[in-house]
Subunit: 459 residues, 2 copies
């Protein structure tokens, strides 16, 4: 059964998509779930477009019938973004995954929205190029644009906000628009590209993405260093940035996360606050950056640096970071992760993490902390039993305290996960009447509230 | 006389602003002019708010009376942005010029919109920080945000788009909103910050700007190099970027511009296509960058590099670039500049400039070319007699051919000057139906079309 969809509408969907319309319950439930703690809500129907023209036809059909559309990439978002809370058709863009062009001299490429970032990087490697934004999950580029994703390399290379040149978008009135040209910069009219980045599918469906690429550096070095205090670790990063060290990656893992990693991956790291670094540049530049960073760390109570230069050694060294999420879940087999994220000005980061840790310790919950310390962005992964309402309520309470703390420090309720279902209350607390300006834009562009309704804010 | 303003409205303005309401003709004309070729249209009244609350009161008053508002910074924009084409009140933000906070550890600051960028940098210098965006003119930060300005350092540090953290904006419904918090990044809701950047005052009046700052590098080196061919100069830059050289500035000046500079500043540069470089980093990093760049330039027909390290030497070396606009005007005393700008993917830049040069030579006009070659962005400065309609028509024809050429190369009709009055036809040609999406947003946020009406597009 397909919930509330009228029979004739399902017939029209079938006519448009043929066997690329899937009404099976497993598929509908799989597209209404999440990698986080949100309850699954089965979609009414799942379609797999192969062209932008099919998306245009689908949008017109849905608007006429007043049926919601939920764009779906890899399903790796963390705030319930793809849950069809008001029913409707899930538009799985996973088969729109072609690389349309790579312009090496321009350091850019254009890809279909359903392409995954690891596939893109595998394709680019031989040309000496890479796409740096790395949120952890092997997400689609369209999904990453929609949630304004960032990640481990943002400190050096920027987030999706800085990395997208142009988008092809199907708007709620069925227009197929390009938001910009392929030029590196432009002052031509409103920045529709940035308006769509982070709109979480509520203003249109992205079908193509033009991206800025980076040259693979001549040399890459990785390093890991434990600290006697959390403040020492954060101050090390502040001082490095102040000294102009162009850190390519700098991640913080707290003692709980390090214990989780040691257990999970049978490693033997000191179970203290730890920084994971990566340096990019010429051989000499990397050596300079590394030496300066090492000096700064020592002055802030950092221990010895473990170093790695060759790719396989770097992977081994960073294993603890890469497997952090699974390691956290491994602390309580059978439980699920409830990852939350905030971002504060970096001068408040140590204080924000320390107060949060005190809260978590007092509440006796299993909740490692890790983060992109160069951006002031960190995550708490509550590891909770999804069938225990008291645990869920407790995580919710601690999450609320975390977000309130971040807001009180002039921070944001979400640095990179987005609002989705989970952060709506906090968006209002953070931006006040600005949210009404967002609503005005939403109503103007999607007057029937059909594009991923119920996400970011209620109308 | 104050044109079309009703008497009682002028009385209300007087009550709100007192002697900070100026109805004198000289002031009204000065606020309706431009540094470019656009005819002056006197404003009906000029006011100088001292607080955001005054701007809110003014907006409410103007909306009630249906009187247009034109925000005004330093008046240095180049596409007629501040010309009150439909009359109204010019809101001169120049007295809203306080530095509200500098957070050195966070590499950010918050300033009022009327502060000029050189004042900000003078204030920051002692703290080892600087604000990199450099459009040439000593513009206000609010004005630079409004036109999505960029300039000589964008290749390394990004444009206003990448450099603004948050804006305080008074919207047409009289709301006083903050578009974001001070955190380095956020995924919280629509990116109203970026929507306002480049909106040219048509969606709100910016009263405060939070900016990302950069650490002043340990070492800075400048270099100048002439090339036997224009293609050789452009290919040098492409190869440097491909090799990962983090050029801080790289500017191209054509032979006509170099001749103008030699005449103007009594210099003795070879009158050939010339690149002006700046390198930032540690002493060793700068030495590495410089050596690599020099090798690459030589392989592309570059001549000897002239080098400078100390500030006064760098200034002398870059004098030709800094005085380019006045030098161009100096080619025809008594004439005015009509500066236009386009931006293309860098792989098309040499071709675009060469075709444009052929056009200019064939038309026998005085029109130097210079540009931010690392971004694919260049300017033609038509030096025209403003009283000669045939010359103006000729410049218009050549400008049209330039923009059409850029669009045919997947470029944009304006890389950094904005649309204003001058580029409206080309915005439609560039983005098609996307401009209708912009109009929908404009109508929703400013239903009476009172905020800088007649700019970017007609409704």
């Amino acid at each position: 059964m397909t919930g509330s969809l009228p029979d004739n509408f399902v017939g029209d969907l079938r006519a448009l998509f043929g066997h690329r319309l899937d009404l099976g319950e497993a598929t509908r439930r799989q597209h209404g779930g999440s990698e986080s703690h949100f309850p699954t809500v089965a979609s009414d129907a799942v379609v797999y477009p192969l062209t932008t023209a099919e998306v245009v036809a689908l949008v017109r059909m849905c608007v006429t019938a007043r049926v919601p559309l939920i764009p779906f990439g890899a399903g790796t978002s963390l705030e319930g973004h793809v849950t069809p809370v008001r029913g409707g058709v899930t538009v799985d863009l996973g088969r729109l995954d072609a690389i349309l062009s790579v312009n090496a001299a321009d350091f850019d490429c254009t890809v279909q929205a359903g392409l995954r970032r690891e596939s893109l990087n595998a394709h680019l490697r031989d040309q000496g190029l890479f796409f740096p934004v790395d949120p952890g999950a092997n997400a689609t580029l369209g999904g990453m644009a929609s949630t304004r994703a960032s990640g481990t390399t943002t400190v050096r290379y920027g987030a999706m906000r800085e990395s997208v040149l142009a988008l092809r978008v199907v708007t709620p009135d069925g227009r197929d628009i390009m938001t910009s040209r392929r030029a590196r910069k432009s002052s031509a009219g409103y920045d529709l590209t940035r308006l769509m980045i982070g709109a979480e599918g509520t203003l249109g469906i992205i079908t193509e993405v033009s991206l800025r690429l980076q040259a693979i550096p001549e040399a890459i070095a990785a390093a890991v260093c434990g600290f006697s205090t959390l403040a020492g670790a954060v101050d090390t990063v502040v001082d490095c940035l102040q000294a102009g060290v162009p850190l390519a990656r700098v991640e913080i893992l707290d003692d709980v996360q390090m214990r989780a990693v040691n257990l999970w991956a049978k490693l033997n790291y000191p179970e203290v606050t730890t920084l994971f670094f990566e340096f990019h540049g010429s051989e000499r530049a990397v050596a300079d950056q590394a030496a300066l960073t090492s000096d700064i760390a020592m002055a802030h109570g950092g221990g010895d640096f473990a170093w790695a230069r060759r790719p396989e050694e770097r992977s081994r060294l960073w294993k603890a970071r890469h497997e952090a999420y699974y390691a956290a879940l491994g602390l309580r087999p059978g439980c699920v992760g409830w990852p939350t994220d905030v971002c504060v000005p970096i001068s408040r980061l140590a204080e924000c993490i320390l107060e949060t840790k005190r809260d978590l310790v007092a509440a006796q919950v299993v909740a490692p902390i890790l983060g992109h310390v160069g951006d002031g962005n960190f995550h708490v992964i509550f590891v909770v039993d999804p069938d225990n309402p008291a645990e869920l309520a407790n995580a919710e309470r601690l999450n609320a305290r975390l977000v309130e703390r971040a807001l009180a420090m002039d921070g944001t309720c979400t640095g990179e996960h987005g609002v989705g279902i989970g952060k709506q209350t906090w968006l209002e607390a953070e931006l006040g009447e600005a949210v009404d300006v967002m609503r005005t834009i939403k109503r103007a562009l999607d007057p029937h509230d059909l594009f991923n309704p119920g996400k970011i804010f209620s109308l």
